[in-house]
């Protein structure tokens, strides 16, 4: 049965006021700024998309006969950079999304956890488990068996 998304109201709406206040302030600013009443607009007859293309690769040489629109800045550097960004994003997303087959350790210092069962007294869990504020005894649940734990007091 579909559970239609219900708007969970209640105390969580209070912060919304901040957004409205921000909008009010920004609107005041806009009303106060003296915009020129008409737009400069683009010269007719030049296809904007081709201009975007030339600006993208800074091809002033291939510009069409009637010259470019305004003084658009070259974006070649941005283009190269965004390529690297997308590659990085892909790589990062894959790392996060990929499901490890059983037994592949993803915990830090995992070699240490296996190798030194002997370190009593201190939680040999992966070092950076955000061990919860309620500091139980030393044998706090190791992060690796996440199944049981329900996480922080929700």
């Amino acid at each position: 049965m579909t559970n239609r998304p219900r708007l969970r109201l209640g105390q969580s709406l209070a912060p919304g006021v901040l957004a409205v206040a921000l909008f009010g302030a920004m609107a005041m600013i806009v009303l106060n700024t003296g915009f020129a009443d008409e737009m400069v607009g683009f010269p007719a007859g030049i296809s904007v998309t081709s201009e975007i293309g030339y600006a993208l690769f800074d091809f002033t040489a291939l510009q069409s006969a009637e010259g470019s629109i305004g003084d658009t800045e070259p974006f070649l550097a941005a283009f190269l950079l965004v390529a690297v960004v997308l590659d990085a994003a892909l790589d990062a997303a894959l790392v996060l999304a990929k499901r490890e087959t059983e037994g592949e350790p993803v915990a830090a210092l995992s070699s240490r956890t296996g190798a030194t069962p002997g370190t009593t007294g201190s939680d040999q869990v992966a070092a950076t488990d955000g061990s919860g504020r309620r500091r139980e005894s030393a044998d706090e649940s190791a992060a690796s068996d996440t199944a049981a734990e329900s996480g922080g007091d929700s």
Binding site: L18, M26, V40, G70, F75, L86, G152
Partner: protein, 101 residues
């Protein structure tokens, strides 16, 4: 007769505030991502409007780049939500408070 620029700016500010409202009130991580998307698009509206206002294409080309980066961001966002779900069995952003003070 073109539409005066104030309307475009007000529209974009409204969109921006709606996105912000979404972030502040909803507790679902995916909705958080959607709200951020709205805020980015608000910025794009602004860019396009001002591009036309100033008569140069910088704004438009940059809007393209903004969209690309928004997409990259969402990709990683979804990755993070996936890992969140695997660990906390829930996508509610207010659940993980193991580290505070």
């Amino acid at each position: 007769m073109d539409v005066p620029i104030e309307y475009f700016v007000l529209l974009s500010m409204a969109l921006f505030s709606i996105g912000l409202f979404g972030i502040l009130t909803r507790r679902n991580a995916l909705l958080f991502l959607m709200s951020v998307e709205i805020m980015v698009n608000a910025a794009n509206v602004n860019l396009i409007a001002f591009a036309f206002y100033h008569g140069n294409l910088t704004g438009q080309v940059f809007a393209l780049f903004a969209m690309a980066l928004a997409a990259a961001e969402v990709a990683i966002g979804l990755g993070i939500v996936l890992v969140l779900y695997r660990n906390f069995r829930d996508v509610d952003v207010t659940v993980p408070t193991t580290m505070r003070w």
